[in-house]
């Protein structure tokens, strides 16, 4: 689909018959159509909404995923006059975002209905967050980046405060809003500095060119500001303070989306900005990111040990997991980037699988305390098995998908001589295994008489209510991929490698760093 855009105006720059290449955003359009359809269906009342909104969302996101698959390896042309670029990297991350929304929606219907909040608006806001995140993955000028960042952020604030009669949800939304607005302001300040450096251009290409010739303190300031925004989005220590409270107070399916979809978009933004633009400041931002990664891995995994709430534990664990992914970013090699993509995809399945189990448990018992899981294997083998497999995978135990993702990251780090990062990563992985296993131990090892009161009063397992079947499908699907994906992970490796190979920006950065190494050696 090619749209010719013709403009006529007095004193206008000669923009006539420029190709818009609007086909690049076809997947986003599918999401947008689903969003509007959800809002329209919602007008017919809550009951109609709860019947029709789920299939509309599946349709929209499914179409988006298919369209993304069709875009894979397509000839690259910047669309919207340089606002958007659908390279393989963007497609891979957009795919992760769309899949995370799809899975989050599958596990949220029952949760949202049980809490008595409107379903149609919930789905619409989550789809808007997806739209923002997907645009963020491919945006290539500062204005588009800012607007898509805000679309993602504003929708996330709304979603975290969605359980409006709950003080914790309100607290989460307010905290997220205040910290997020500060981060947005910081980004805007950094972007305005970059805009000034280019002399009035907003495209990242122009920014990259301008940065190569200017080494003023202003550039360093802009780098720090941009880095702070990225670190806030991926919840890297010390920009993580919002994470535990927001994760604890937000509705659990929203947390599932925030921990995967929002984070994936953050990493895509990091690649686009840091690798694409700040090439001449390679050494500087890599040092900063090394510090962030070490801090995130250490603090995230150590503080998670002390948590009593499952959601809070997963919040700290997600901080630690972001630290692992940052190893790949710091490497800057072909393997490093591929490992990032692969680990995000693996994290999608194992983390959402864990969240599906937690949501199922809280729907049946109304609790998310780790001690309440005691003796669960007697009453609910499915949750026990699913949660155990997902947590083992998150901890990086061999046959699971997470192990292969993690080993690839460490391998890439070791090959690039990032010994500090790899050693810290290995040690903190061992620490993380402790708290993941202690949940499993709680569920499996306790005798029936030692089971918690909640488990003793466990309701009979039933899947008959609307919304339970999608939850079960998501749970089983995620657990299957997590368990079997490890053994059959070769297609995933190929996919991650071709994502990097099909991205000119990354290839350029890899070639530049290789030539720099050759010049030194």
């Amino acid at each position: 689909m090619t749209v010719f855009c013709t403009l006529a105006g007095g004193g206008a720059p000669a923009i006539t018959a420029l190709q818009l290449n609007a086909g690049a955003i076809a997947p986003e359009s599918a999401v947008l159509v689903a969003l509007l359809a959800c809002l329209l269906v919602d007008l017919a009342g809550e009951e109609a909404a709860s019947r029709w909104v789920p299939p509309i969302c599946y349709g929209g996101l499914g179409t988006a995923l298919v369209l993304l698959a069709l875009q894979w390896n397509a000839p690259l042309e910047p669309s919207f006059l340089g606002s958007f670029l659908a390279d393989n990297l963007a497609i891979a991350f957009r795919g992760v975002v769309a899949a995370s929304t799809l899975l989050s929606l599958l596990i949220s219907w029952r949760y949202v209905e049980r809490s008595g909040t409107p379903v149609g608006e919930y789905a619409a806001i989550l789809l808007a967050a997806t739209l923002g995140a997907m645009f963020l993955c491919g945006a290539t000028d500062l204005v588009s980046i800012f607007i898509s960042l805000e679309t993602l952020s504003v929708s996330s604030y709304l979603l975290s405060g969605y359980m409006k009669r709950d003080a914790r949800s309100g607290e989460a939304a307010l905290k997220y809003l205040l910290v997020g607005s500060a981060a947005a302001a910081v980004f805007l300040y950094g972007a305005s500095l970059l805009y000034g450096l280019t002399g009035g251009e907003t495209s990242l290409e122009a920014v990259g060119v301008a940065l190569q010739t200017s080494a003023t303190p202003v550039t360093a300031l802009a780098l720090v500001f941009v880095l702070a925004t990225v670190a806030f989005k991926i919840a890297a220590v010390p920009f993580h303070q919002w994470t535990p409270d927001v994760y604890e107070g937000s509705p659990t399916p929203v947390v599932a989306f925030l921990s995967v979809g929002s984070k994936a978009a953050g990493f895509a933004l990091a690649l686009r900005l840091l690798v694409g633009c700040f090439e001449s400041f390679d050494a500087q931002w890599k040092v900063l990111f090394t510090v962030l990664a070490v801090l995130s891995m250490t603090l995230g995994n150590v503080v998670a040990l002390a948590q009593t709430s499952m959601k809070r534990m997963l919040a700290y664990s997600s901080i630690g997991q972001a630290g692992f992914v940052m190893i790949g970013l710091v490497c800057g090699t072909e393997d490093g980037y591929a490992a990032m993509v692969l680990y995000m995809a693996a994290y999608l399945f194992m983390n959402l699988g864990a969240f599906a189990c937690i949501i199922l448990f809280s729907l049946r018992t109304g609790s998310d305390r780790i001690s309440d899981y005691a003796g669960l294997y007697q009453k609910d083998p499915l949750i026990t098995l699913g949660l155990s497999l997902c947590l083992l995978s998150l901890g990086g135990i061999p046959p699971m998908l997470g192990f292969f993702g993690k080993i690839y990251l460490f391998f890439a780090g070791w090959a690039d001589q990032q010994y500090l990062l790899v050693v810290v990563g290995l040690i903190t992985s061992v620490v993380s295994i402790y708290y993941y296993i202690s949940v499993i131990k709680m569920m499996v090892v306790k005798e029936p008489q030692e089971a918690s009161d909640v488990v003793k009063a466990y309701p009979e397992i039933s899947w008959s209510l609307t919304g339970m079947q999608p939850l079960r499908a998501a749970l089983v699907g995620c657990v299957l991929v997590t368990a079997i994906g490890g053994i059959l992970s070769n297609p995933l490796f190929t996919w991650a490698n071709s994502a990097v190979a099909g991205t000119p920006m990354l290839q350029h950065a890899i070639a530049a760093s290789e030539s720099a190494v050759a010049a030194l050696g």
């Binding site: 105006g9 049980r114 809490s115 009669r165 607290e171 959601k311 609790s367």
Partner: protein, 208 residues
């Protein structure tokens, strides 16, 4: 000195005076309603300065956004709170005032120094004047088309979200089972998050 430049000078002096005096009033007056109205005056005089600089679009945006939206919102917030309460005496108020005054003065001197030491390119680029609006329009529908369209999604979502959060639906129930629901998290709090910490210092809230 032509009549045009004299008029311009008079306008500049008048606007600047309103701006500075208004801003001082916003900060120094004890009554917050006066401060809010004076803030509107400050915004308007900034819009006037923009007009003097031949930036009519920015001036219009300034009036629409700051006076029309932000300031009205501030006034709404003040009038909704509408609480007559004697404020507790803050210890060391004079010292605080002197300190914050010193910080502001320092910032002002810093700005002044930047202003005086920067080699400004005088005269700057010629202002576009009335063409600016046309040019902005062209940009919005060419190279900034994508963010422009995405902004509409952002605004739509913000509006819907605000309605959802503000709507007062007292009776809510599970659509599927018909059970009463409380629009809260499914994970009920057993050790409440807010009550774990000791009661908050309420004087902090009143100060704001």
């Amino acid at each position: 000195m032509t009549i045009a430049s004299v008029t311009q000078l008079i306008c500049f002096v008048a606007l600047s005076l309103t701006l500075v005096l208004g801003a001082l009033g916003v900060v120094l007056l004890p009554n917050i309603v006066y401060s809010a109205f004076l803030l509107a005056g400050v915004f308007l005089s900034v819009a006037g300065l923009y007009l003097l600089l031949n930036a009519s679009f920015v001036a219009a945006a300034q009036v629409l956004v700051y006076v029309g939206a932000v300031n009205v919102l501030i006034l709404f917030a003040i009038m909704l709170v509408n609480k007559k309460e004697a404020m507790a005496e803050i210890p060391g108020l004079l010292l605080r005032r002197v300190l914050s005054g010193a910080v502001c003065l320092g910032l002002f001197l810093l700005l002044l120094r930047v202003d005086l030491t920067t080699p400004w390119a005088v005269p700057g680029p010629t202002p576009l004047g009335e063409d600016a609006t046309t040019l902005i329009g062209i940009h919005l529908f060419s190279d900034y088309l994508l963010p422009f369209e995405l902004a509409s999604v952002l605004l739509l979502m913000a509006m819907i979200g605000a309605i959802v959060l503000a709507r007062r639906d007292v009776y809510s129930s599970d659509v599927i089972t018909g059970e009463a629901a409380d629009q809260g998290l499914i994970e009920k709090e057993r050790t409440p998050l807010l009550l774990e910490s000791p009661p908050r210092d309420t004087t902090l809230l009143e100060k704001v």
